[in-house]
Amino acid sequence: MSNHTSDTLYVEGLSKTYGEGSTAHEVLSDVSLEVHPQELVSLVGPSGAGKTTLLRCLSGLLEPTSGRVRLGDRPVSKPIEDIAVVFQDYRGSLMPWMRVAENVTFPLQGKGVAKAERDHRAQEALEAVGLGDAGNKYPWQLSGGMQQRVAIARGLAYEAPILLMDEPFGSVDAQTRFDLEDLTLRLRRELGITIVLVTHDIDEAVYMADRVVVLGGRPTRVLETIDVGLGDDRDQIGTKENHLFAELRSHVLNQVRHNPAI
């Protein structure tokens, strides 16, 4: 997998309203943010704050009511080749009738990548997530954490410079979660990809990110953007004992608490 450089991802004055007339419900109001190349940005906020809605707008899966998303000069109004998505629920996003390798190569077929190249990329991506020998298995033969790694491998094999992750570690146990977090950090360092991570876990948001974007209020807007000055090397014990980590964590928690979504 080669390194990719991409343009900056801009979100400009994005609002999203569901329904019309008297039943209208504004979920997002005037959200603006930027994600620079090779940056890892966490979007954190309370449950029901419309984080997933925002991510779906970023990926082009959902059209905003107003405002826009662009990558450099190109508008993102529908899914584009430069963005891969790792969904929250691996059970729904991996196809049980396809083997692991097929699940990874499948999107490349649509991209018109030749078979040999597809298999090669899938193998590389699976090795990167530590599942080099699982290609011939069916998803149900793997544990939840391993299945989510397959979903990550699918994103990597797509070779998009930007990876959007929607609460990717929400449905696995705590230990697996830490492992997946570190795996993601390592991949990002090695491959130089840009990552947008949606999470409701404040520890995770701070631990993973270069910048944390705190979402909240009703309708949801950007409450604050925080630079996480924890450096590039993070580890689950040292970093989390760091007083700066504790301060950031309390700060974000306060923000979220005082601006409940519902």
């Binding site: 569901y18 329904g19 419900h25 979920v27 449950s47 029901g48 419309g50 984080k51 997933t52 809605t53 779906r56 990926s59 899966l61 529908k78 899914p79 584009i80 080749e81 963005i83 891969a84 998505v85 969904f87 929250q88 629920d89 059970r91 729904g92 996003s93 196809m95 049980p96 009738w97 396809m98 499948f106 999107p107 077929q109 649509g110 991209k111 069916y138 149900w140 699918r154 797509y158």
Partner: protein, 303 residues
């Protein structure tokens, strides 16, 4: 050891059917009752018909009609089912009509269709197809509607072309539901096959029964009836085999899910009495996926 085990397993399944047949054989052995001839006589009649009579020719005629009707209904049912399952507006508009057509007793059409189009094979295949179409259609629609919405998101996010999405994602995901519809259709199709031949025909296994009845050859009536039973049984056994093969992945997922449950449940019973959890994994997955957008949930609940 292994052979013993297999024999024992087979024995446990076979003793009752064997007993029933033996009891029938013995009890009817000396039967003088005109309507209930000895099973041995019926058996002889089947052998005779198979070796010297037209049994195979009749079976072939019935099976060809059945196969044509079923296959055409299957293709049409899946195609329309996927279209109607995906397009809400059209589905809503035709749903009362589908409801009506599904619950009408399709057999009522037999006299009209056969009087109008003759006693040949084509109207029979049409009638079989007509009765098979509805359960396949409705189950396919349900299957498409029950798809995990994340599947579509994956397809969009990774820009899977629409035909590929339909063939490699929607079709396999809907296959368990389609198979359920087909299983129902087979039962109904066999009934229609028999009725269409017994109403009026010149060939077919139903015709053999009808003809025997009209000439009071009661042993032949029994023979034909038993052959139809065996035919129906073989069709459904064959179908189950096909289903097991096509849905191997599905049964493995299901088995794993079921196997996992007792362990988890046992752990929970220690703390609190278990509450029956009716929400399937599937429904749960849908809810999580739609968490942020209630509107999506609301529209999906519609017809």
């Amino acid at each position: 050891m292994n052979i013993q085990k297999i024999l024992l397993g087979a024995g446990k399944m076979l003793w009752l059917p064997a007993l029933v047949i033996a009891a029938w054989w013995v009890l009817s052995g000396t039967s003088e009752n005109f309507y209930f001839p000895p099973l041995s006589k019926i058996f002889e009649k089947i052998i005779f018909q198979a070796t010297e009579g037209a049994l195979w020719e009749n079976i072939l005629f019935s099976m060809i009609n059945f196969t044509i009707g079923f296959v055409v209904a299957g293709i049409a049912g899946i195609l329309f089912g996927i279209v109607l399952g995906s397009l809400r507006r059209i589905r809503v508009a035709v749903s009362p009509l589908l409801d009506f057509m599904r619950s009408m007793p399709q057999i009522a059409l037999v006299p009209v269709v056969i009087m109008a189009f003759g006693i040949g094979p084509e109207p029979k295949a049409f009638l079989i197809g007509f009765i098979c179409f509805w359960p396949i259609l409705l189950n396919t629609i349900d299957g498409v509607r029950g798809l995990n919405p994340q599947l579509l998101e994956v397809a969009k996010a990774y820009r899977i072309p629409y035909p590929v999405y339909l063939m490699r994602m929607v079709l396999p995901a809907t296959l368990p539901a389609i198979m359920t519809g087909m299983r129902i259709a087979i039962g109904l199709g066999v009934v229609m096959m028999v009725v269409s031949e017994m109403y009026s025909s010149t060939r077919g296994i139903g015709f053999y029964i009808l003809q025997s009845q009209e000439s009071y050859r009661i042993t032949d009536v029994w023979a034909g009836t038993i052959v139809i039973g065996l035919l129906g049984y073989l069709i459904s056994v064959g179908f189950v085999a096909v289903e097991r093969y096509l849905l191997a992945w599905y049964y493995q997922v299901e088995r794993r899910r079921l196997r996992k449950r007792p362990a988890r449940a046992a752990a929970e019973t220690a703390a609190a009495p278990p509450v029956r959890n009716p929400a399937s994994e599937h429904a749960k997955a849908r809810l999580t996926a739609d968490k942020d957008s209630e509107v999506v949930v609301a529209t999906r609940k519609g017809v």
